[in-house]
């Protein structure tokens, strides 16, 4: 790891200032992704701004929203009574990610901004437009078993690796960020971006902006009928091949509202809007779930080694919905 400066500002404003005035500076929260990337030489910030002690670590409900501070640990959120009761989907997704040790380090903000696990991104000897714009994409015609089936471009077919973010996308969360010009809110589905021809940008966050919290609306129907399913190469401690976050608001055997998002399939957590639209107002039957999964897959495209996801994802959607609905 190359040497760098280290600062520990004592307010969010000072942290934003420290980053804004220094192009090569980066925030560090848990460090579980950033330190790894720095050791590999994938990123090399010249200054780290330690935000881990800023008081952005509370979890509280106000009105219909639950607000989670950006510096809450993944383990704290997953074990929190309010989250387990009102947002079990989020707790499940968090517990499906990484290991207990890493969840004790990882923060909510850091989890959202974790970089892709594409092996070409990590391997400095390989081309990668995300790491080195203009160098090409090694995965496009390479070993792309882990890669995207939705929203990819000729510049990049990497996926966003987070589990937590799939649940937050399904739950219609809002991201709250602070920058030098004040606070703004970004809806979660618009927070991460597709690669297009600028895959070096993972999100719509501006340089210097600090994530301070996420807000999630509570829906008691979803809390009763939700599930996160993660399919991976081993039973635990592996990134998703595909994952599905689903929530159903069922009344009188009718799907009043439904939320579906998938992980491991795109450059961002992928909301399955077409499937949601299909299911709204219908009854929770296997044939409806199958048709919804088919609708979800209409825009999907395989790249060779990841063609299996074209079958695995719809099967995972159907399995998840059937399990929730008990059919």
């Amino acid at each position: 790891m190359i040497a760098f400066d280290y600062v520990r500002p004592n307010s969010a404003k000072a942290a934003v200032d420290a980053i804004t005035k220094d192009a090569s500076a980066q925030f560090i929260a848990g460090g579980s992704n950033l330190v790894d990337l720095m050791k590999h030489g994938v990123v090399a910030p010249q200054k780290l701004v330690d935000i881990s002690r800023l008081p952005l670590n509370s979890i509280e409900q106000s009105g219909n929203n639950i607000r989670i501070g950006a510096l809450c640990l993944n383990s704290e959120v997953a074990e929190h009574a309010l989250i387990k009761e009102k947002l079990p989907l989020l707790a499940q997704a968090l517990n499906a990610g990484a290991s207990p040790q890493i969840r004790n380090m990882a923060t909510v903000g850091g989890n959202m901004l974790q970089r892709t696990r594409c092996t070409y991104f990590y391997d400095l000897a390989m081309p990668c437009n995300k790491r080195q714009p203009g160098s090409g994409c090694g995965a496009l015609k390479g070993y792309n078993r882990m890669h995207a089936i939705f929203g990819a471009s000729n510049s990049c077919i990497a996926v966003h690796p987070s589990d937590m973010c799939v649940a937050l996308a399904a739950l219609d969360a809002t991201v709250i960020v602070a920058g030098s010009k004040g606070e703004r809110k970004i809806s979660f589905v618009d927070f991460h971006r597709l690669p297009g021809d600028t895959p070096e940008k993972d999100t719509h966050l501006q340089k210097g902006e600090l994530i301070t919290a996420v807000e999630i609306p509570v829906n008691d129907g979803f809390a009763k009928h939700s599930l996160y399913t993660k399919v991976r190469d081993r039973a635990s401690y592996a990134f998703a091949l595909v994952s599905v976050a689903a929530a159903l608001d069922l009344q009188n055997n009718t799907i009043q509202h439904v939320r579906l998002a998938a992980g491991g399939v795109a450059h961002k957590p992928w909301r399955l809007m077409a499937a949601e639209k299909y299911l709204k107002g219908k009854s929770p039957t296997e044939s409806n779930f199958k048709a919804a999964a088919e609708a979800a897959m209409s825009a999907a495209k395989g790249y060779g080694y990841n063609d299996f996801k074209l079958t695995l994802l719809p099967n995972t959607i159907i399995h998840t919905l059937k399990t929730i609905a008990g059919v």
């Binding site: 790891m1 190359i2 040497a3 760098f4 400066d5 280290y6 600062v7 520990r8 500002p9 004592n10 000072a14 420290a18 560090i28 460090g31 579980s32 330190v35 790894d36 720095m38 050791k39 590999h40 010249q46 200054k47 780290l48 330690d50 881990s52 383990s75 990484a98 290991s99 207990p100 040790q101 890493i102 004790n104 380090m105 039973a235 635990s236 401690y237």
Partner: protein, 213 residues
Amino acid sequence: MTNDNTQDKQEQPGELLETRRQFLKQSSAITAIALVAPALVDAAEKKLDEKAADIFEKVPLSIEINGKQHQLSVEPRVTLLDLLREQLHLTGSKKGCDYGQCGACTVHVNGKRVLSCLSLAVMQDGKKVTTIEGLATGSTLHPMQLAFIKHDGFQCGYCTPGQIMSAVACINEGHAGSDDEIREHMSGNLCRCGAYHNIVAAIREVNAKGGKS
């Protein structure tokens, strides 16, 4: 170099804690002379940058390790694992992968299990660290250490310090209720020798005996 220069890196209450690495980036191509004590500029110009860097890159660190308070001075890039092993010669915590993938470096920070290979030492300022060396009480082994011996919870032993630190935390967290739960919550600790079966047996037994620690 006089010791006075080390004053430069002290934290002022309420101010940024900042090291003076910046100006040494390109050896003698000094970019931030204004930030730097004149003696150090002299030293750098006389090609003493390496020595100067030794003093100036470091940040003060106050940390309690296995009950003992340490006042140290470390470079920001030093991980907690390297601090323990290389500087404090506490070689119980193992470097299996150095990238967060194996769990051999697991220690407790403020009572929580974390990976010391992905933790920067400077970020642990003011915290309490427990390593495998701090688990026993005098010559009396911790119940989890005894259970690993009794159940043959290891073969080569390389993963064992991490396994034991994780196992103690697994019970403290209340995640040792069944063999499946133990396996899930021990999944961050890999064992190349495949001692998993006996590790689960050791944890099951300590948990059944109410083995909170």
